[in-house]
């Protein structure tokens, strides 16, 4: 009998590695991974720290274009300052372009608001470590979940008061204690109180101070993977801390509706790069480095915690004939 032979495309040369005909199709694994990760969805946990009145909640709402912060979840509009630092986490699922993200905003009311603010970062530090502990426990379980629920703090936005002078003692203390435990992204809040020159001078001074105190903010120098990363991150590090303005109100400017703050002398446009660096922050945080924030948290901060924990546990660590591992502490 006669076979009907279907038409099939000409066979070209595949790239590198082999000289025999055809195309294998390895690049399709990207697409396979994409489908799986889209199905699984993403989650992101962001903590906001700064004393009250710096516009933290407004900024987070502006960043994610939704009412995701604590104040919008019906917690009442009495902005009462609590007696101690509280940790309040609120989760929302937001969707865009077919991608579902479970966003958790962790607010820290009471930070920096007391008369005596000594060690006010302790509850925050404790919370962050508790999330690492939770993850660790799940990881060593016998029957562990396929996808361990991730409540670890991926990013901590630290709000600096726009004094125009320098960092406050509390700012330095907080960042010193926590920059080795979590990714800290410092931002200058309510930056519409400074002119361009004042802003640049302030930023320069802040960067110098951070350097003097050995505070590594995200993206940390030591974690740059390769030259490409380093170049990209160097540019970002030179511009940080971003001077931002947040707003959830819209105004008409030149026939377009923009988010902004209306004053007697003009409208501060939040997304206008000439007015403030909100757009830079947003692009950096969400559009290019969101995944990296999670990876640095998982591969570095979490591993540091885990290694310390294992060492503390009476030195119970893998011992075998061909084991060449050592503690990396």
């Amino acid at each position: 009998c006669v076979f009907v032979v279907p038409e099939f495309p000409g066979l070209g040369h595949s790239g590198g590695g082999s000289t025999l005909l055809g195309y294998i199709g390895i690049d399709t694994i990207i697409e396979q991974m994409r489908k799986k990760t889209m199905k699984a969805g993403f989650d992101f946990n962001i903590m906001i720290v700064g004393h009250s009145g710096l516009g933290k909640s407004t900024l987070v709402n502006t960043l994610f274009k939704s009412q995701v912060s604590r104040w919008s979840s019906g917690w009442g509009s009495e902005h009462k300052i609590p007696k101690t630092v509280e940790i309040k986490a609120v989760s929302h699922v937001i969707e865009e372009g077919g991608v579902k993200m479970k966003l958790t905003v962790i607010d820290t009311p009471g930070f920096g608001d007391q008369i005596n603010n000594e060690n006010c970062w302790d509850p925050i530090s404790k919370y962050i470590n508790e999330q690492y502990e939770k993850f660790l426990k799940e990881e060593v379980n016998i029957a562990r979940k396929k996808r361990i629920p991730d409540t670890r703090v991926h990013c901590c936005l630290y709000f600096i008061s726009p004094t125009g002078h320098s960092l406050r003692q509390l700012d330095i203390e907080f960042m010193k204690h926590l920059s080795r435990v979590v990714n800290i992204i410092p931002v200058i809040a309510k930056s519409d109180t400074m002119t361009l020159d004042e802003k640049n001078e302030f930023k320069h001074r802040v960067r110098k101070e951070l350097e003097t105190h050995g505070i590594e903010y995200y993206p940390q120098n030591e974690f740059d993977d390769d030259m490409e990363d380093k170049n990209e991150n160097d540019k970002i590090r030179e511009t940080m801390p971003f001077a931002v303005v947040g707003s959830d109100k819209e105004f008409q400017v030149n026939g377009k509706r923009v988010l902004g703050r209306k004053t007697a002398w003009g409208v501060v446009e939040v997304e206008n790069p000439n007015h403030c660096e909100f757009a830079l922050l947003r692009d950096f945080l969400i559009r290019s480095h969101l995944q990296d924030l999670k990876e640095v948290t998982h591969n570095i901060h979490y591993e540091t915690y885990r290694a310390r924990r294992l060492n503390d546990n009476g030195g119970l660590h893998p011992i075998s004939a061909n084991n060449t591992q050592e503690s990396n502490l």
Partner: protein
């Protein structure tokens, strides 16, 4: 081939300053962020091939990955093979295509099924698979987890001879020894010696026997409801074609005016990539283009987890007998201990309490004895 269209690599969209764009937050780029990292790191895949000599395993591997891994191989004759045991030989090759790097490891099992007495000839193979799991388990529980090498076997292609009438006892026993440790994909080898009818009969027979003997071969995951019709159709065809009947070739022949991989016979030319000649294309698509990631996932989430759970349970039960055993995993106080561990701990406590009591009694007796 229509499947190619589906898998065009998606380039990340450059952001545009249109008003529409401004409405978006921008985390729709997340999948691309994830992929950028993976592309940089590259992927790895470990494939095991098992079956008697002469089933065309090496040829098939070369055909699948367009490599020439077995160039300098020396074929043994029967006499040399008599005393040969099953070996495990690894070949590693780095392949790059369209910017994506793959580190491919082929685990070959020469000697399998070649001896006169093939009792338990799969043992070196199951031992190898377990060793890789154990190595990964130790690495994963260690302190420095930065660069863990994943040598776990992601898929095992098992070659069934086309000459028989279905599965032989060694086929059944082998697959049963492995089906809970690795993804087993059975193939009918050298399918060019069978007519289409014979292939169909053999496939039906093998499918029925796999079911009857309770062999858990690799199951393709169900299609999502939102997949397009074309994909669903392909998926259905794939499932109905199992086990796949394959042909491999290291030579290029001229057929219908084109240079193709094939085998030249006096009565015609067998084209490896011709879907009406054999299922090679289906195998390649399944293995590389649609299910490679899933094969790895199932290995990690099912086979490895089973091994790990079993390992931990064995160690926990050993602990009650031997207090001084060093455990390779950090024993953190588990907040949710399972019932079994609880029971064992309780038993141990009671035993300790009894021993302590006995000790006290003895001490008392000695003490009393002394006083008298």
């Amino acid at each position: 081939m229509t499947t190619n269209i589906r898998y065009k690599s998606r380039i990340p969209i450059k952001s545009d300053e249109t008003t529409e764009e401004k409405q978006y937050v921008g985390f729709a780029t997340l999948p691309n962020q994830v992929h950028r990292k993976s592309v940089k790191k590259g992927f790895d895949f470990t494939l095991m091939v098992a079956g008697e000599s002469g089933m065309g395993k090496s040829t098939l591997v070369n055909s699948l990955f367009l490599t020439d891994l077995y160039k300098d191989r020396k074929l043994l004759n029967a006499e040399e093979r008599i005393n040969q045991t099953v070996e495990i030989i690894k070949h590693t090759v780095d392949i790059e295509e369209k910017g994506v790097k793959l580190k491919l490891t082929i685990v070959d099992t020469p000697g399998f099924g070649d001896a006169v007495n093939n009792n338990e000839c799969w043992k070196p193979i199951t031992d190898y698979i377990d060793q890789q799991f154990e190595q990964y388990f130790r690495d994963e529980s260690g302190l420095n987890r930065k660069n863990i090498q994943d040598n776990r076997v992601h898929c095992c292609l098992y070659f069934i001879p086309p000459f028989g009438h279905g599965l032989r006892p060694v086929d059944v026993e082998f697959m049963k020894a492995l089906h809970e440790k690795v993804n087993v994909v059975p193939l009918i080898a050298k399918a060019d010696c069978l007519t289409p009818n014979e292939i169909k009969k053999l496939k039906d027979r093998v499918r029925e026997e796999i079911e009857r003997f309770g062999i858990k071969v690799y199951q393709f995951p169900e299609c999502d409801s939102d997949e397009d019709e074309e994909f669903k159709q392909l998926d259905k065809e794939l499932k109905e074609c199992c086990p796949l009947a394959v042909i491999g070739s290291n030579t290029v022949v001229e057929a219908r005016g084109q240079r193709v991989r094939g085998r030249l016979y006096p009565w015609g030319i067998v084209e490896v990539e011709n879907q009406s000649h054999c299922d090679f294309v289906k195998l390649r698509n399944m293995l590389i283009r649609s299910h490679m990631h899933d094969l790895k996932d199932v290995t990690c989430d099912v086979h490895y987890e089973n091994y790990r759970a079993q390992c931990i349970q064995d160690m926990t039960s050993k602990l009650t007998h031997d207090n001084r055993m060093e455990s390779p995993i950090p024993i953190l106080p588990l907040s949710t201990p399972d019932v079994e561990t609880d029971r064992l701990i309780k038993m141990k406590d009671e035993e300790l309490a009894r021993m302590q009591e006995m000790l006290n009694k003895m001490q008392q007796q000695i003490h009393d004895g002394k006083d008298q």
